[in-house]
């Protein structure tokens, strides 16, 4: 196996929520609750889950845009929170983010040329003529041309804006890009174009992607590995081929059955109820309140992470060794 480029170790992020009463106890929204995974060089790692499952928070914690409550993010083996100012700036060059909404991810008061020049200016790369040439080259790489340089974001379509956002992310030659719902706001045909663009850039520059999405079809098409999140915890991690076809965790199973073709619709697992309140998640396994296989132990004990051969991990009592004996 290749070297991990990023290791996320036991990350928690709890947001304080003002209670509005005098009970004296603060409530916390547990957005991310003990998440551990690694990204390997050159892969596309998909993070899927419902809205509010904490997937975007993880992406932003990884880039230190949000400070985790506890836990460690390591970049190439080094804890990113211990970087000095200088090291952090250099590291910022290597990791980039592309946001979901191309309408708010570009500064409305700046031209495309300014937006693309900014990263080069921040890191003092090259002189004026080099920057100009680099901007032109990057624009062409994302399928735009010089006529866009003096345009403002509101003069562009959603797809064009997302291309600009991608250009501003790749202009520093990063190694890792977090794509936070990067294509969710676009039309299906434009989605396909942007996904193909990301794939060709990945091949060309050996990029690693953390691809955060709620769209299972897109994730299955795009990613090498997939992690399924529920209520701030990872339920299952595995290769796309394995997880997409034979999900182990009941939640992953339900999730992937939702995108079955029409003729297989009778096999669809429909979950009852809603996502529990993340400030008061269920005890034990976070999914037990909606699980069709739930057992008594699920209500009291949080399942440990099980390895099912290779890199396939699942957090479910169905796969605990003692449980499988009991079930047999």
């Amino acid at each position: 196996m290749k070297e991990p480029i990023v290791q996320v170790e036991n990350v928690f992020k709890h947001y304080k929520q003002s209670q509005g009463n005098f009970s004296g106890r603060d409530a916390y929204v547990k957005a991310v609750n003990g998440v551990t995974f690694s990204l390997y060089e050159g892969e596309s790692f998909g993070l899927v889950g419902e809205s509010g499952s904490g997937k975007s928070t993880i992406g932003q914690v990884m880039l230190q845009l949000i400070q985790p409550t506890s836990g460690v993010v390591k970049y190439k083996g080094r804890d990113v929170s211990t970087f000095s100012r200088k090291e952090r700036k250099a590291w910022r060059k290597d990791v980039q983010i592309v946001f979901q909404d191309p309408y708010s991810s570009l500064n409305p008061k700046k031209t495309v040329g300014w937006i693309l020049n900014e990263p080069l200016q921040i890191h003092k790369i090259g002189d004026k003529s080099y920057r100009k040439q680099k901007i032109m080259q990057t624009l062409e790489e994302v399928g735009l041309d010089a006529s866009y340089l003096n345009r403002y974001p509101h003069e562009l379509s959603g797809g064009q804006r997302q291309r600009v956002a991608i250009a501003s992310a790749i202009i520093l030659n990063p190694e890792l890009i977090v794509i936070d719902e990067g294509v969710s706001a676009l039309d299906v045909s434009v989605q396909a174009q942007i996904l193909n663009l990301l794939k060709s850039l990945q091949r060309k520059y050996h990029l690693t992607y953390l691809f955060i999405s709620h769209d299972l079809n897109v994730v299955q098409y795009f990613c090498d590995r997939i992690a399924v999140m529920y209520l701030g915890e990872l339920m299952e991690i595995g290769k796309t081929e394995e997880l997409g076809t034979k999900p182990k965790h009941p939640y992953a199973e339900a999730l992937f059955s939702s995108i079955l073709m029409h003729n297989e619709a009778e096999n669809r697992i429909v979950l009852e109820g809603d996502l529990p309140n993340p400030s008061n998640p269920p005890a034990g396994c976070p999914f037990h309140s909606r699980c069709i296989h739930k057992m008594d132990i699920c209500k009291t004990t949080k399942p440990a992470n099980q390895y099912l051969g290779g890199q396939h991990q699942v957090s479910c009592h169905l796969y605990s060794e003692n449980q499988s004996i009991q079930n047999a």
Binding site: R92, F99, S104, N107
Partner: protein, 269 residues
Amino acid sequence: MRKTKSIPFHIGVGLVGALVVMMLISIFYTPHVPQAMDSANRLAPPSLDHPFGTDNFGRDILSRVMEGSQTAFIIGISSVVIGLVFGFILGACAGYFGGWLDEIISRLMDAMFAFPGILLAIMLIAVFSTGMTNTIIALGIMSIPAFARITRSSFIQYKEYDFVKASIAKGAGSFRIIFHHILPNAISPILVAAALSFSGAILSESGLSYLGLGVQPPEPSWGRMLKEAQPYIDSAPWYVVITGMAITLLVLGFNLLADGLRDKQDKKV
């Protein structure tokens, strides 16, 4: 930026523009010397020689109104600049950095808001004595909280925007975020506040000078002219009316300008 057909905005621009022109002309030319007294011609009604009449010392009212506009603009501009600069810095720090710094600055601003502005100005003048400079400083300090609040709320709003986060992810420092990313987007509400604060400063200056606490003689001031005109309101009503009109038109002009700017920015959203 789109052109707007807002009528109040154009009236505001017209009024302010006309008074700016009058102020500029007065620097080089006034029909009479504003301080020249003419005891034979006291409280003369409007005539060809004195279009707005003369005051209780026989001085030409038109010339004095013109020269007084310089004082009004100097005080308005300087106090807005003071309020804007300090208010922006305080508001930007509070909104951008948040936490305990925000708490301290916000509570301080709340405390300043709790005083009626003019009372604060009178207190400052009582401590530092009267005069143009102290009036400017007092009015400037008075307008800090309004600017700080508006700046703070814009900063809180914009710092959560994805383009700000994307820029931080690219390694941008606080200075770049504040001046390149947030300020250009937050500028229009601040400009509205500046226009309102300008008219507020002129009103307050007139009020202070009327009370004898503002600009001191011989510098002409509309507020003090109003005070001087008061005893002659029966015998020479034009003195009061003309001076009052000058104050009203300038304040109205800036208020309409501010309203128009606000409409403009609302339309864009």
